[in-house]
C-alpha cells in the first residue's frame, strides 16, 4: 500500500471539516476523491501534505506515519501536491518555478526532470522565460503539474486541476496525467468534475461533508444512482 489514510479527523478552529475518513491508494493506481464544494477534499489533501495538522488518525505513506514530518520533508519522500488554484509563483519565470521545485536536486537530475516536463508540455518550454503571472490558466496548471514532476516522486496529489479551465484543456491535461501515471507515478485526484475524474481514475471515493459515503471502481461509481444524480447531472 503506497498511501493509507486511517480515521483522519481535521478541523479548522472549532469546526471539524473531516470526520474520520479512511481510504487507501495502491502503487500505480489513479484514485479520485469526488465531492461537492466544502466536502473536505482539499482539507484531506492539505493534511496529507502536512500543510495542515490532523486532530487524530494516521497517514501512512510507504508504511510510515508521516504525521510528525514537516511539509517540505514530505516532499523529499516523493509525495508531491499540486495545490488548489495552482499557486504558481507569478514573480518567477516558468523556468525559475521549475528550478525552485528542484531545490534539492543535483544539476544533472534537475535538467533531466525539467526536460521531461518540457516533453509533456512543450508550451512551457516555449514560455520558459515568461513570468508565471503572464501565463494563461491552462499553462499555469501545466506548470503546477510540471513543478510536481520536478520535485518528483511516487505519489502526486492533485487538487482540482480542472478548475476554471476550458473542457478541451482539461482533456489535454488529463491525457498527460494518464501518461504520467503510466510512467510510474501514482495519482490521487480530487475533483468536483466527477465526469472527467471517473473517466481517468481506476477507483474512487465519494466524500460528503467530511465523510466517505461511497466507494468503488470508477465504473461502479459512474453508474451508481447517487453519483449520477448528485455529480453527473443525469
Amino acid at each position: 500500500m503506497l498511501l493509507s489514510v486511517r480515521d483522519l479527523r481535521v478541523s479548522y478552529g472549532n469546526i471539524q471539516a473531516v470526520h474520520g475518513v479512511s481510504f487507501e491508494v495502491e502503487e500505480g493506481e489513479i484514485v479520485t476523491l469526488i465531492g461537492a464544494n466544502g466536502a473536505g477534499k482539499s482539507t484531506i489533501l492539505n493534511t496529507i501534505a502536512r500543510l495542515h495538522p490532523a486532530d487524530s488518525g494516521e497517514v501512512l505513506y510507504q508504511g510510515k506515519n508521516i504525521a510528525s514530518l514537516e511539509a517540505h520533508d514530505v516532499v523529499k519522500l516523493g509525495l508531491a501536491l499540486v495545490p488548489e488554484g495552482r499557486r504558481i509563483f507569478g514573480n518567477l519565470t516558468v523556468y525559475e518555478n521549475l528550478r525552485l521545485a528542484g531545490f534539492q536536486l543535483d544539476n544533472s537530475k534537475l535538467s533531466e526532470r525539467i526536460k521531461r516536463v518540457y516533453g509533456y508540455f512543450p508550451r512551457l518550454e516555449e514560455r520558459r522565460s515568461q513570468l508565471g503571472d503572464t501565463l494563461s490558466g491552462g499553462e499555469q496548471q501545466m506548470l503546477a503539474v510540471g513543478r510536481a514532476l520536478v520535485t518528483g516522486g511516487n505519489l502526486m496529489l492533485l487538487d482540482e486541476p480542472s478548475m476554471g479551465l476550458a473542457p478541451i484543456l482539461v482533456q489535454q491535461i488529463f491525457a498527460i496525467l494518464r501518461e504520467i501515471n503510466e510512467a510510474g507515478t501514482t495519482i490521487l485526484l480530487v475533483e468536483q468534475n466527477a465526469h472527467m475524474a471517473l473517466k481517468l481514475a481506476n477507483r474512487g471515493y465519494v466524500l460528503e461533508t467530511g465523510n466517505i459515503t461511497l466507494s468503488g471502481s470508477s465504473d461502479e461509481l459512474a453508474h451508481s444512482e447517487e453519483v449520477q444524480k448528485a455529480y453527473l447531472g443525469r
Binding site: A49, R50, L51, E70, A71, H72, V75, K76, A80, L81, P83, R87, F89, G90, N91, L92, E96, R99, L100, A101, G102, F103, Q104, R147, T151
Partner: protein, 304 residues
C-alpha cells in the same frame, strides 16, 4: 568643477552606506513582511565588532570586515530564531514591537559592555592605503581619499553579489518565491525556515559591512549611532519601494545625494545647512505621496 566632483564622491560614499543598510530592511520585509526595527542597531553592532576585530584582535582591514560580517550575520540569524520565529503566526504588530525591543536590548547591551565614550578605529583602518591606489587620487580635479574609493567599490561589489544571489541562484529564487506566496514554498521541498535564516544572514551581514565602512568614513562610533542612521536607511528603503533590492540601492543613493548636496549648494541660495534633514525628508515625503509604494514597489496583490 572640482567642488562639484568632491561633493559628488562624498554623496556617493554616504549613499552607498545608506544603501547597504537599507538592503537588510528590504530583504527581511520581502520574505517576512516584517519591518525589522532592530536592523539599525544590528548595523551598530557590526561597527563595534570592527572595533573588536581591529583593536582587540589587532586584525587588518579585510579580516576585520569579514569577521564582523560573519559574526553579525550569525547574530541576525539567532535574533530571528529566538525573537521573531515564535511570533510568526502572531499579529504583525507584536513582531514589530519585539523588533523595537531587540533594538533597545542591543543598544543598551552595547552601552553596558563598552561604555558611553565614543570609539573609533585605529589608524591602519581609518587611513586605508590599498595597493595600486595610494592614499589620494585625483578625479575630475577633485582629490578623493582612498577610503572613499574603497567604500564605493566595496558597496558596489556587495550589492552586485547580492543581486546575483537573488536573481540567479536557487536561494534567491526561494526568497522571491516566499515574498510572493509562502504557502506554496514548502510544496517545492524547500524549508521556509532555511530561506528565512539565509535572508537574515545576508541582510545583517551587509549591515555589518555598512557598519565597518561607516566607521572608516565617519570615525566616531557610539552605541546610539544605529538608531538615527538606521531610521534614515529604513526611509531610504521605503522610498525605493520596500521589498525590492534595487529600490533600496536607489533610495539609499538618493538620500546620500540629497543630504550632501543640500548643504553644499543651499548656502548659495540662502538655505542654511541646518535645513539639510527637513529638506531631505520633505523631498522623500513628496516622492511617497506621488508613489506610495516607492520607486520600485508594486502594490501587493491581495490573495483570497
Amino acid at each position: 568643477m572640482d567642488f562639484f566632483a568632491q561633493q559628488f564622491f562624498n554623496a556617493l560614499q554616504l549613499g552607498s552606506l545608506y544603501a547597504l543598510i537599507a538592503l537588510g530592511y528590504t530583504m527581511v520585509y520581502g520574505v517576512l513582511l516584517l519591518i525589522n526595527f532592530a536592523h539599525g542597531d544590528i548595523f551598530m553592532v557590526g561597527a563595534f565588532l570592527g572595533v573588536f576585530g581591529s583593536i582587540t584582535l589587532d586584525l587588518p582591514f579585510v579580516p576585520t570586515l569579514i569577521l564582523a560580517m560573519i559574526l553579525t550575520g550569525l547574530m541576525g540569524v539567532g535574533i530571528e530564531r529566538v525573537a521573531y520565529k515564535p511570533l510568526r503566526q502572531a499579529s504583525r504588530l507584536s513582531a514589530v514591537i519585539t523588533a523595537l525591543g531587540v533594538g533597545l536590548l542591543l543598544e543598551n547591551g552595547m552601552l553596558a559592555l563598552t561604555g558611553a565614550d565614543p570609539r573609533s578605529y585605529p589608524d591602519n583602518i581609518k587611513n586605508l592605503n590599498p595597493p595600486l591606489l595610494g592614499d589620494q587620487i585625483d578625479i575630475l580635479g577633485a582629490s578623493i581619499s582612498a577610503e572613499t574609493i574603497v567604500i564605493i567599490v566595496l558597496a558596489l561589489l556587495l550589492f552586485g553579489g547580492l543581486y546575483f544571489i537573488v536573481q540567479r541562484t536557487k536561494w534567491g529564487m526561494a526568497m522571491r518565491a516566499i515574498s510572493y506566496d509562502k504557502f506554496a514554498v514548502p510544496l517545492m521541498g524547500v524549508s521556509q525556515d532555511q530561506i528565512i535564516s539565509m535572508t537574515f544572514l545576508l541582510g545583517t551581514g551587509l549591515a555589518a559591512a555598512g557598519g565597518i565602512l561607516w566607521g572608516v568614513a565617519y570615525p566616531i562610533l557610539n552605541p546610539y549611532m544605529g538608531m538615527r542612521i538606521g531610521w534614515k536607511a529604513f526611509i531610504a528603503a521605503v522610498v525605493g519601494g520596500i521589498g525590492d533590492i534595487r529600490g533600496a540601492a536607489v533610495g539609499g543613493l538618493m538620500l546620500g545625494f540629497i543630504e550632501i548636496f543640500v548643504p553644499a549648494y543651499g548656502k548659495d541660495i540662502g538655505v542654511s545647512s541646518t535645513w539639510r534633514d527637513p529638506i531631505a525628508f520633505g523631498l522623500l515625503l513628496i516622492i511617497l505621496v506621488a508613489r506610495p509604494t516607492g520607486l520600485f514597489g508594486v502594490a501587493r496583490r491581495q490573495k483570497v
